[in-house]
């Protein structure tokens, strides 16, 4: 039942969230997390390719309630308003849909958070794209977060990498990304928004799975070094799992 779509129940309402966090802290080490997963278990992943017909390549990714869509345009000639570069340019733009989070965002234009996520996304992808072959051209990557329930950046990186592959842009390797959060001395793979909020710190790792080269490593909050190391290891395992699914999806697409 790999990569098969079944709609899920809506995430629990805000009141229920509070109850659950208090219940979690009373039990020191729950066997299962709020959604019945083990600590080292990924959420259910759903991938789709070619979802935006006008784009050169596109992908859609779902980690339960985190939903991300990405469209890639190009390669095309570089626009006049940016500095000319002999090598190819990769332009990433990440935006949250106004309805992505429980509270509707009223901000017009890109927020600082979105700009930071865009920059991180670009860094994570840039290492995997063969920019030397895209002389004097630019590739645009547009990511829209449709629903944010934890692990948004990781989902965006994975989804964008698939969209690049779908656009037949030459890549050294795919990029798979994964997040882990540390809460109550326990490392949780692929946390939900609720778990992220409760956690003391989190780690994001993006790797090129074949060569196991890390393209992005982002750490937030306070983490003891042993826990940080454990979180990175867990992320690497998670990325390997995600990469298997990415490859399977791409192969299925080519076979068709």
């Amino acid at each position: 039942m790999l990569n098969c779509y079944t709609p899920r129940r809506a995430p629990p309402a805000a009141v229920a969230v509070e109850e659950q966090t208090s219940a979690d802290s009373s039990r020191k080490r729950p066997e299962h997390r709020g959604d019945g997963r083990k600590a080292s278990e990924l959420r259910r992943v759903y991938l789709d390719l070619g979802v935006v017909s006008q784009a050169s390549g596109s992908a859609y990714l779902e980690l339960d309630h985190t939903k991300v869509i990405c469209a890639v345009y190009g390669p095309h000639a570089q626009s006049m308003d940016t500095a000319f570069s002999e090598e190819g340019q990769l332009k990433c733009d990440l935006r949250m849909a106004p309805f992505a989070q429980p509270k509707r965002s009223e901000v017009r234009g890109q927020t600082d958070e979105e700009r930071e996520l865009s920059a991180t996304l670009q860094q994570a992808l840039e290492a995997s794209v063969r920019l030397d072959l895209l002389t004097k051209t630019a590739v645009d990557v547009y990511v829209t977060v449709l629903a944010a329930d934890g692990g948004v950046l990781g989902a965006a990186i994975t989804c964008a990498s698939l969209a690049l592959a779908n656009a037949s842009i030459e890549l050294f390797d795919l990029v798979a990304a994964c997040t882990a959060a540390c809460a109550d001395g326990q490392v949780l793979l692929d946390p939900t928004a609720q778990e992220e909020a409760a956690a003391g710190g989190s780690v994001l790792v993006a790797v090129m799975p074949s060569s196991r080269e890390v393209t992005q490593w982002r750490q937030r909050g306070r983490l003891p070094s042993a826990q940080a190391a454990a979180a990175v290891e867990l992320c690497m395992d998670g990325c390997a799992g995600v990469a298997t699914m990415m490859r399977a999806r791409l192969l299925a697409q080519v076979d068709k």
């Binding site: 050169s56 390669p75 095309h76 000639a77 995997s128 063969r130 895209l134 002389t135 004097k136 051209t137 592959a165 779908n166 037949s168 842009i169 030459e170 890549l171 050294f172 390797d173 795919l174 090129m208 799975p209 074949s210 060569s211 990415m246 490859r247 791409l250 192969l251 697409q253 080519v254 076979d255």
Partner: protein
């Protein structure tokens, strides 16, 4: 043997292979043989020692002599930029177009000022690839009477792998169909009505009598083009164009090569079945029109 690979996948770790499109070589860390790795998702193709990966869809990489159909995106100082579906817009120099009347002379400043009278933004043109530059950008020319502006017809975009290089890319489908098809190697197909025989028959005699054959030929052809562009297309002609268009779409659905014979065959089959042109793309109709792969 053909196999499917994804970016980052090792194709072979044996030495002695040549790196083709869609692959790269990586030195192995333990000092062994360098590995050949895929960098696009697609089918592995081997020609003797050369290994390449052919992606399902790709941007147009031109070859000198290709016929392309493109849209003018920009009129510059001495050149037009033309979107042909490549990495970058192709370049068409003012010096590589035909002047009206087929005059052969240096391009003057006056010509530069009149560039929009030849081609302006959003015009569709057919052209030939003259040169591929070092960085992969394409240079076009239209220095033949068959190339130039495309008017009064229909454009269709298909995957470029379906248009193989043929002897002839300007196709006139035989009289019962009576439709001209321009198969651009960049996957753009232009469909229009064929020149009626009485037009060409009448004017060619006049051209032969003229002393300056080349000039008059160019002029008469221009006149013909203008006549063609200005004459409205009648209902039955429209229907035939539409049927040809849907025949090409049918081939695209079957992922079959788009050749004159294949188009004519699908066209004939649809007429035999008594199908209206508009019904050709319905699911059952498509299935019955699809070319059989075994013959």
């Amino acid at each position: 043997m053909s196999s499917i690979v994804v970016p980052g996948q090792v194709i072979t770790a044996e030495g002695g292979f040549l790196r083709g499109h869609g692959t790269y070589i990586q030195e192995s860390e333990d000092g062994g043989e360098p590995q050949l790795i895929a960098c696009v998702a697609g089918v592995v193709e081997r020609v003797n020692k050369l290994i390449s990966v052919r992606p399902v869809k790709s941007r147009y990489i031109g070859e000198v002599g290709d016929l392309v159909v493109g849209r003018v995106t920009e009129v510059g100082g001495k050149r037009w930029k033309v979107d042909v579906g490549g990495h970058q817009d192709a370049i068409l120099m003012l010096s590589s177009v035909n002047l009206p009347g087929g005059a052969q002379r240096k391009r003057t400043y006056e010509d530069q000022l009149q560039m929009r009278t030849f081609f302006k933004e959003n015009d569709l043109i057919s052209a030939e690839v003259q040169q591929i530059q070092q960085d992969g950008s394409i240079v076009l020319h239209t220095r033949s009477l068959k190339y130039g502006k495309l008017e009064n017809g229909q454009l269709l975009r298909v995957p470029q792998v379906l248009v193989k290089r043929l002897k002839q890319h300007f196709i006139t489908l035989a009289p019962p169909i009576g439709v001209d098809v321009v198969l651009g190697t960049n996957g753009r197909v232009w469909i229009t009505r064929a020149m009626p025989a009485e037009w060409t028959g009448g004017t060619s005699e006049g051209a032969d009598m003229d002393t300056n054959v080349l000039t008059s030929k160019a002029e008469t052809l221009m006149q013909l083009r203008r006549l063609h562009a200005e004459t409205p297309i009648l209902r039955d002609e429209r229907e035939r164009i539409c049927r040809v268009r849907n025949a090409v779409v049918t081939l695209q659905h079957a992922f079959a090569l788009i050749t004159p014979d294949a188009i004519a065959a699908v066209y004939a089959r649809s007429v035999e079945a008594g199908m209206a042109a508009k019904d050709m793309l319905q699911a059952e109709a498509l299935a019955s029109l699809m070319p059989q792969l075994d013959n």
